[in-house]
């Protein structure tokens, strides 16, 4: 036995599963579906046929989702983030970055100590040194991870 309310509830689930989550379009679409069903019932159709006809007339969930895609900012953003995955770097990139960092530190050390004759007694033990050590350690860690990662860089 056909149950109209149950069928409409199922249709709602399909719409939700397809991604039409924002309540406004779904409420509007359901209102439209019910109006179409009523019109078909008045023309003498059975509930089951009227429901099938109305669903067909409204359109497939996936197509509607694509059309509504631009209206829901959060969905749009999540779609975008799926389409542009985070770029992965190879271990060589981290090694290059490490080499550049060491080169810059060398130049900075030369300028500070040999050109300006400023001797920083606690240079390597201070906060600045700590940042440099942690940067180098971070780069080595990333390079190791990148080399042993299963996904190709």
């Amino acid at each position: 036995m056909f149950n109209l309310e149950q069928s409409i509830a199922e249709w709602r689930k399909q719409m939700l599963a397809a991604g039409i989550k924002s309540p406004v379009p779904l409420e509007e679409l359901e209102g439209h579906l019910r109006e179409e069903i009523e019109a078909q019932l008045q023309s003498g159709m059975t509930e089951g046929d009227a429901f099938e006809m109305a669903v067909k007339q409204i359109g497939k969930a996936e197509k509607l989702r694509a059309e509504f895609g631009g209206t829901n900012l959060l969905d749009w953003l999540s779609e975008k983030s799926k389409k542009t995955p985070k770029k992965k770097y190879g271990y060589k990139s981290y090694l290059k970055a490490g080499a550049i960092l060491l080169f810059v530190i060398g130049i900075a050390n030369f300028v500070v100590v040999d050109v300006f004759h400023v001797h920083l007694k606690y240079f390597w033990e201070g906060a600045y040194g700590g940042c440099i050590y942690s940067s180098i350690f971070g780069l080595i860690k990333c390079a190791y991870k990148a080399k042993h990662s299963k996904t190709p860089a």
Partner: protein, 115 residues
Amino acid sequence: MYCVSMIRKELVAASAEPLILSLLSKGESYGYAIIQEVKARSGGKLQWTDGMLYPVLHRLERRGLLKSRWGESETGRKRKYYSIKKDGKTAMAKHHEQWSLIHSVLAGLKNEQYV
């Protein structure tokens, strides 16, 4: 917007905005009624896949051409009514101008073919 008649879907899509604006310039209406009126006025040749109307209405609303309000149908069901705003009327006038131009060019070319 998808059309099941012989009118190409690109043309149906392009005409959706001016048609909606023109229909709403007569007074506020709601999705189902808009579709029924378009269907009736085109003799059933211009049929939209119903669900596709709403994204167009929402876009027009976001652009400030339409405004909407929730109301109730005769049976007490929730229904969203749309009405045209001042900018919508300006946009509609531009559409009419452009479509009239296209129509006059086509009509002129057609007349020349049969001379």
